[in-house]
Amino acid sequence: MTSSFGCPHCGKSNPIDARFCSYCGTHLGDVEGSQLAQQPDKEEPVDESPPEKPLPTKRRFGPPSYWSESESDPADENPAQPSTSKRSSDLRRPSLRPNLTHGRPSPPSGERPPDQPYLPRPTLPTPDLPDADDPTGWLDRFSLPIPVESSPFLDDDLQRQLREFFVAEVPLADIPPPAGQITDGEGLWRRLSSYLLLLVVLVVLLLFRENTPETLPHVWPGVGPAFATVEALPDGATVLIHWAYDPATAGEMDLVARPVIGHLLDQHANLIVVSQLSLGPPTARRLIAAAKTLTLGDAVARQTDLSLVDGGFLPGGAATLPLLGQDPALGLPLDLQGRPALTLPPLASYHQEHPALVLVLADRMEPVQRWLEQVQPLNQVAVVAVTSAATGPAVRPYLDSGQLAGLVSGYNGGIGYQELLLRPMGRAEQARLWRQIAGHNWAFVVFLIVVLAGNLPAALRRRSP
């Protein structure tokens, strides 16, 4: 006896005693389920005698859209008649009865139709897998009253149609809401409120964008220890920078990273940059070049090319990070220009001894976490993290536990770090910073307006009696 059958609406398999389909919720009816459970699953006898009349060869398979009431097939001269009790009980079930007989002449009552060969149970080739589900099991209980040529196997076209039928999405009928029902905030009021909100946002952005209040954002802890760690570096120390952000988040991250990179250049540190993002190295080159120009001036910046080693892109994710801590010579044998390590003092010193400091610049938590888990236990080098504002809280526990020597998060952290440097900011840098602050302020105002607008329709919504 079959233990499951297919839902007539979505075709998914359900237990025999299910009252509702567990996928689409169609009511299946417990009476029909019990009837199906009691009826033995036996094969239909195949009538091998030649038919008296030529049978139509057209088979009607496909999504339920094919089974419309207006559809009538003039080629179907011999409408099918259920001859067994099981088939008749199936047809009595409204949920399982397709509209195949509409438009076609029904057989005269009281007359037992000839025993015609109906469509035999299709024997689709089952795959040779021990756990294969039979998707066509529900066909066993689904009788199609269309007389077709008796054939023990389904041809390729029919198999393809069956597959398309099973995977096709059943179109659901559009049920319009009943007339006169009060809708919840829909219609004209919602549209008006949306347009009004958009207008207010545009007016605020266009008219008040130049107003920048003279306030600085709050600075979270971790900036002071980061500054102290960099300040304590000896002259000419090798610093490994793990660059983990790309141009997508460079708008914020550049503001955070620039003061720290400038401080490292002030300390005459030799920088080795490695990234596991393909666009990390070019992003790093641009920021370091800008920081050099601001810190050292153009002339000196050009002379310090050897202090920066671009290690390039390191693929492999967390699986290859341990190479940088365990065996740097294998992780960074060459720089991006293909120069071997021995010709570059920073790389040579990095291969011989561990770097003095590791700087992780990341816009997400995962790169910082991976470095602290995969690399730091191997070389025990101090790590300073420079992250985005959203990542700062997630990385704070590492600062509290001592795994991080310092943490600079968000552009407000960059401002706090810049203030500790006691170095005046350039005009372009100042303008960029004030633009960021103004944008932050007005984004907050827009957010407040959006939240208020979202709560206003609910407050003004009419309740149905």
């Binding site: 666009l279 693929p315 492999g316 991006l336 220009q337 997630a394």
Partner: protein, 215 residues
């Protein structure tokens, strides 16, 4: 099952078991090395990491080749939006050819221009769209009549009031301390729990995969 399929089924099962034995052995080696349970394992694990580096590089190239191949097929068959596929293939081919032929390699002027003019602005623009998603989500879900939304709304507004320069100076210090405490203790506790649970789930799935003989 036919005889040939049975033959290959048995062969595949045996190969799977051999692969699982190798994976298990290497996992034990890495664990022993990371926890310093034995000496002399560093050269072997360094070699493994180098092999992973080579494999991941090849996988990257294979992925690029697969993408180009699928788009070439779409162009050849005139599939949906084949024009975009053509643009992608031409752009990718141009960048590769320029990078290979130019003396500067990946830092040649043309590639630098492509990064500055196309890639960087494009990435930044795509990321900027997330702001609109956040606004749409805030409009839809931060409503007082939804079941848990008031809690989310209060926490969100508290963090914003403290972080925003406009309001950060007028907010009392107690609110700043409250926001800090909330971030460090309950929020991080929940986040850490989720991370630990996810990591444990990964370990269990890996053990289950190994124990099921490659199924």
């Amino acid at each position: 099952m036919s005889a040939s399929k049975t033959y290959w089924h048995n062969r595949i099962g045996w190969i799977n078991r051999l692969g699982l034995v190798i994976v298990l052995g290497l996992a034990v080696l890495v664990v022993v090395d990371r926890f310093d349970l034995a000496t002399g394992t560093k050269p072997f694990t360094s070699l493994l990491y180098t092999w992973v580096l080579i494999l991941s590089s090849f996988t990257l190239l294979l992925g690029i080749a697969g993408v180009v191949w699928s788009h070439l097929n779409r162009i050849r068959h005139g599939g949906k939006e084949w024009g975009f596929s053509l643009i992608l293939v031409i752009a990718a081919s141009s960048v590769v050819v320029v990078g290979l032929l130019s003396p500067g390699g990946t830092i040649s002027p043309l590639l630098e221009w492509a990064f500055d003019a196309v890639i960087a602005p494009g990435q930044a623009s795509l990321f900027a769209l997330t702001g609109f998603f956040i606004l749409a989500a805030a409009y839809r879900y931060l409503r007082l009549d939804r079941p848990e939304a008031p809690w989310v709304l209060v926490g969100c507004l508290l963090a914003l009031f403290v972080e925003t320069p406009l309001t950060g100076q007028i907010v009392p210090a107690i609110f700043i301390d409250l926001a800090d405490w909330l971030l460090v203790w309950p929020v991080m506790a929940a986040l850490r729990g989720a991370l630990l649970g996810g990591a444990l789930a990964m370990v269990l799935v890996a053990v289950r995969l190994l124990a099921r003989r490659g199924k």
